[in-house]
C-alpha cells in the first residue's frame, strides 16, 4: 500500500516536471519568441501574405487583463536557411487597453525573407 502511494506521488511529481511539448513547426506558436513569461498578453492567430514580393505578417494580440498593458515587440526576418536576412529591427512599445484585442502588422525589409519570428516581452 505504502509502495503504491509513493509510486503515485513520484509519478505525479514527474508529470509536473515534464516540459510542455514544443509547438508544431509552422504553427503560429512556433513563430513567437517570448522573452520571459508574458503577463496578460496572448498572441493569437497570425496571417502571412506576400505583397509585391515582400512578406507581410498580421498578428492578433489580446490583453487578458482589465487594466491597460504595455508590451514590447519586434520581428526577426529569416531566409530559407533560417538565418536573419536583415539587421535587427528596433523594439517597439505598444499599449493595449484592458481586454482589448488588436492586430500588429509588419512588412519584411527585403524580398529574401521567407520566415519570421515575433519577439515579444512584457515589462
Amino acid at each position: 500500500m505504502r509502495f503504491k502511494f509513493i509510486a503515485v506521488v513520484a509519478l505525479a511529481l514527474l508529470a509536473g516536471c515534464a516540459t510542455p511539448p514544443p509547438p508544431e513547426p509552422g504553427s503560429a506558436a512556433s513563430k513567437v519568441v517570448a522573452m520571459g513569461k508574458l503577463k496578460n498578453i496572448v498572441v493569437g492567430a497570425m496571417r502571412v501574405a506576400r505583397e509585391n514580393g515582400f512578406m507581410t505578417v498580421n498578428a492578433q494580440l489580446s490583453n487578458t487583463s482589465y487594466n491597460n498593458k504595455t508590451f514590447y515587440y519586434r520581428f526577426a526576418w529569416l531566409g530559407p536557411e533560417g538565418f536573419p536576412v536583415a539587421e535587427e529591427e528596433t523594439w517597439k512599445s505598444q499599449m493595449m487597453y484592458g481586454e482589448q484585442t488588436r492586430f500588429i502588422q509588419a512588412i519584411a525589409p527585403t524580398t529574401k525573407a521567407v520566415d519570421f519570428r515575433l519577439e515579444i516581452k512584457t515589462p
Binding site: R74, E89, T90, W91, S93, A106, I107, P109, T110, T111
Partner: protein, 195 residues
C-alpha cells in the same frame, strides 16, 4: 626542493588568478547599450522615433509596388515643423539607406550632394589634370523619375501633471514629370510624461 617548487607554483597560480582577462578598459560606469532598445529618457524626439519612422516609411514604400524597375529617386530634406531641433537629414539618410538595401530604387544626387557632384565633373573636365579616357563625361547624369519629400510636425500640450507630445511624420513620392503624388504615408507617435 618540493616545498620550494610548490611555493613557486602557488605564487604563479595566484598571479594568473589576479590577471585581468576581461577585454575592457576604463570605468565600469560606462557601458555599450542596445541601439535598438526603446529609449524613454525624455519625451523629446529620440532614437526610437527616428528608427521607427524610417522603418515604417521604407517598408510601406517598398511594398507599395510603385517603385517598379528600380527607378531613380531624388530625396529632399524633411521639413521640420516642430518646435524642437531635429536633424531631419538623419531621417532621410536612414530612409535612403534602407530603401537602397531593399534594392527597389536607385538614388540621384540629392541637393546637398549635388554641389560636390558638379565640382567633381568640372574638375575632371576643365582642369586638364586627368587622362582623357578616364574622365567622366558631362551630360550623362541620370535624372530622377520621382522625388521624395516629407515633413514632421508636433503638437505639444502641457499641464501640471502631464506633458504630451504628438508627432506626425508624412512622406510622399512625387512623379517629377507629372507632378502627381504617387504614394504617401504617415507615422504618428504619441509620448506622454506623467510628472
Amino acid at each position: 626542493m618540493f616545498a620550494r617548487f610548490s611555493f613557486i607554483a602557488v605564487i604563479a597560480l595566484l598571479a594568473s588568478g589576479c590577471a585581468n582577462t576581461s577585454p575592457t578598459l576604463g570605468s565600469k560606469n560606462i557601458s555599450y547599450g542596445d541601439t535598438k532598445a526603446v529609449e524613454t529618457v525624455t519625451n523629446e524626439f529620440g532614437s526610437t522615433d527616428l528608427q521607427m519612422i524610417a522603418e515604417s516609411m521604407t517598408r510601406s514604400l517598398a511594398q507599395s509596388g510603385i517603385l517598379q524597375g528600380r527607378p531613380v529617386v531624388q530625396v529632399y530634406d524633411v521639413k521640420n515643423k516642430t518646435s524642437e531641433y531635429i536633424d531631419t537629414r538623419e531621417i532621410t539618410t536612414s530612409i535612403k539607406t534602407q530603401l537602397m538595401k531593399t534594392g527597389v530604387a536607385r538614388f540621384a544626387s540629392d541637393n546637398t550632394a549635388m554641389q560636390s557632384q558638379v565640382d567633381q565633373l568640372k574638375l575632371q573636365n576643365q582642369s586638364g589634370l586627368y587622362k582623357k579616357s578616364t574622365v567622366a563625361k558631362t551630360g550623362n547624369m541620370i535624372a530622377a523619375k520621382y522625388r521624395i519629400e516629407g515633413s514632421i510636425s508636433s503638437i505639444v500640450k502641457r499641464s501640471s501633471d502631464y506633458k504630451d507630445v504628438f508627432y506626425k511624420f508624412s512622406l510622399q513620392l512625387i512623379d517629377v514629370e507629372s507632378g502627381l503624388a504617387e504614394w504617401m504615408d504617415e507615422k504618428e507617435i504619441r509620448k506622454t510624461t506623467e510628472r
